[in-house]
């Protein structure tokens, strides 16, 4: 059974069909990439998985759980973490605090315990901190640990957001354009990290990305979307060679 299985998903915004009868499944342990021109419905597909939008039709199954039974805030508890295309960090908090929010789904203490900061809260805090420090080491975020997000450059924010998702120790990581706006070197780093996330941490990755170099470098399978519907699916090479994909990207007559 696949880790994530989406069948016949459809979502419309007024007259716009953002996702059109889309089906795909992501296997445990793979890196699965979604590509497609702007407005193809890639981010919308992510938002459906995150339960931000209610689909018109379709089934969403994650590890045997029906995602449609869950509210948006319960998706994280299943072990799904994500980043956003336009970086959604907690601006007026430090990098460390941002990463610690990633640990939210692992919290065990109650309001009353936290008000009195009981020894159990302290122990838990240290445990969370250890987990977060592992992420900081992994992503080389040491110099920024106590810096406010509001003052950080774009490239670092992108990494912090990845870190926050990793801090929650997810089973499935959704990355919405992890390399957009990054320099060549930063994109290279991102590529190694995605590789290591899959190989060392055993986390399944579902990502949306425009950079075909990155996509063919890290992903096992690629799904090409256009106008919310599936255009092609297969290995990076297969999808890149697919005439329908080339046409969607370059327009009719380019082939």
């Amino acid at each position: 059974m696949s880790l994530l299985e989406i069948k016949n998903a459809t979502l419309k915004f007024g007259g716009v069909v953002a996702v059109n009868d889309l089906s795909f499944s992501v296997e445990e342990g793979e890196v699965y990439a979604i590509v497609g021109p702007n407005g193809a419905g890639k981010s919308t597909a992510f938002n459906l998985i995150s339960r931000f939008y209610e689909p018109f039709a379709g089934t969403f199954t994650f590890d045997g759980n029906n995602l449609l039974d869950r509210e948006a805030d319960q998706v994280a508890d299943l072990g799904i973490a994500r980043t956003f295309q336009n970086i959604e960090l907690f601006e007026h908090a430090t990098v460390l605090q941002n990463l610690l929010v990633g640990r939210h789904r692992h919290r065990k203490t109650t309001l009353l315990e936290e008000m009195f900061f009981t020894p159990r809260v302290r122990r838990e805090e240290e445990r969370h901190r250890e987990a977060v420090e592992e992420v900081i080491d992994f992503l080389d975020l040491q110099p920024y640990r106590n810096k406010m997000i509001a003052g950080l450059p774009y490239g670092v924010r992108k990494v912090v957001e990845l870190g926050r998702a990793l801090a929650s120790k997810p089973r499935l990581l959704l990355l919405d354009e992890p390399a957009s706006g990054l320099s060549v070197e930063e994109t290279q780093d991102m590529r190694w990290w995605i590789d290591d996330i899959r190989k060392q941490m055993g986390i399944t990755v579902l990502m949306v990305e425009h950079d075909m170099g990155l996509v063919s470098g890290v992903s096992d399978r690629v799904l090409a979307l256009a106008d919310g519907a599936k255009l092609a699916e297969g290995t990076p090479a297969e999808v890149q060679a697919n005439p329908a994909v080339i046409e969607a990207y370059l327009g009719a007559g380019a082939v």
Binding site: A76, F84, N86, H92, A93, R107
Partner: protein
């Protein structure tokens, strides 16, 4: 220059990051406890007033500064705390139980009110909470039987296991009571900030979308923030009742709500220091102004609206030139000294922020 060497994660979890901070706050505490021996009764009363406002400020700060939900209705919760405490004591509940209970009751009522109100955002939320302030006045008049209505109420003398505390005849005892409540509220606040709930508050404030994606339940978190905020505010209200000596439907008016909100903005949103700095301004400004006025135009002349006008001016100046409030200014000055002579002019300038074009909602 001061350098922190951290050797364990506990360093960042502790109440005070290092010996230096510990000794500063330690001395401050010693000073606070020695104050009745250093000040005369008038000034001790003023300091007590500052502390009560600071407690109320902490209450609103938790909601507005920490969780990002503005409220112009917090005078209503001051009133609930004050009336609940007084009525409970009139019913024979001892102060030591009635007082904490008054805060908890205020918190619970806050949660009930929060459920519909916190669905609103920003300015709409502020407008809805104004209604609370207005409504509180009417409800007090309508429930005259319990509340004393327009003629008001006089809180009874506080007795804790036979030990009597009264604001006018024993100002230093009352001061100590207020000080202890201040310390407890500050500790609660600090503890929340360094635990998961405090971070969830900040997450809700800065990005509801990604807070949700990390598993934070937005409505529940806001409800908790509102409840805790109202609880602390309720305690401040009960103390205000004792401080004023008498109160009625007009004591906790919309003006108090507005003052409270201005106070935390001037003090510095999102910090404990801000609540205290703001309280100093709010409590001493009227005094300073009247002294100034007496010297400039003579004591016989009344200038209506002077206080409100000056207060508004200060608020506008802060929003224009120091949005981080007095605490922000204080941080800059402190950093300048700590780094001397390496401080740079642009050290606190924010980087260009990035457009959030695709915000959900």
């Amino acid at each position: 220059m001061r350098i922190h060497f951290k050797t364990s994660y506990a360093h960042d979890i502790r109440l005070f990051p290092d010996r230096w901070t510990l000794s500063i706050y330690g001395s401050l505490l010693v000073l606070a406890f020695a104050l009745p021996y250093l000040l005369d009764e008038f000034f001790l009363g003023e300091v007590t007033n500052v502390l009560i406002w600071a407690i109320a400020g902490l209450g609103l700060m938790l909601l507005t500064g920490q969780t990002g939900q503005a409220s112009l209705g917090h005078a209503a919760f001051l009133a609930i705390g004050c009336y609940a405490n007084t009525i409970l004591i009139e019913q024979g509940v001892p102060f030591i139980i009635a007082f904490p209970l008054a805060g908890i009751l205020t918190g619970l009522i806050g949660v009930i009110i929060a459920i519909p109100v916190l669905r609103l955002h920003g300015i709409y939320l502020a407008i809805a909470t104004i209604a609370l302030s207005v409504l509180a006045d009417d409800i007090i008049v309508l429930t005259e039987h319990w509340s004393g209505g327009v003629s008001g109420k006089f809180p009874e003398m506080i007795t804790i296991f036979g030990f009597e505390i009264e604001r006018w005849s024993m100002p230093s005892r009352f001061y100590y009571l207020v000080l202890v409540v201040t310390i407890i509220c500050t500790l609660f606040y600090r503890n929340l900030l360094r635990s998961p709930l405090g971070r969830a508050f900040a997450a809700v404030r800065d990005s509801e979308v990604s807070a949700t994606a990390m598993g934070v339940h937005i409505a529940r978190t806001k409800g908790k923030a509102f409840g805790l905020s109202c609880m602390i505010t309720g305690w401040a209200g009960a103390l205000m009742g004792y401080y004023a000596g008498t109160f009625n439907n007009e004591t906790f008016s919309l003006v108090i709500s507005i003052t409270l909100l201005m106070m935390i903005v001037i003090g510095g949103l999102g910090s404990i220091h801000g609540a205290f700095f703001g309280a100093v301004v709010v409590a001493f400004l009227p005094q300073a102004l009247s002294i100034l006025k007496d010297n400039v135009v003579g004591s016989g002349v009344a200038i209506p609206g002077l206080e409100t006008g000056v207060f508004g001016m200060i608020l506008i100046l802060f929003i224009l030139f120091e949005p981080m409030g007095i605490y922000g200014r204080w941080l800059k000055i402190r950093t300048w000294f700590e780094l001397f002579p390496f401080a740079r002019k642009d050290m606190f300038r924010r980087q260009k922020s990035y457009l959030k074009t695709e915000r959900l909602r």
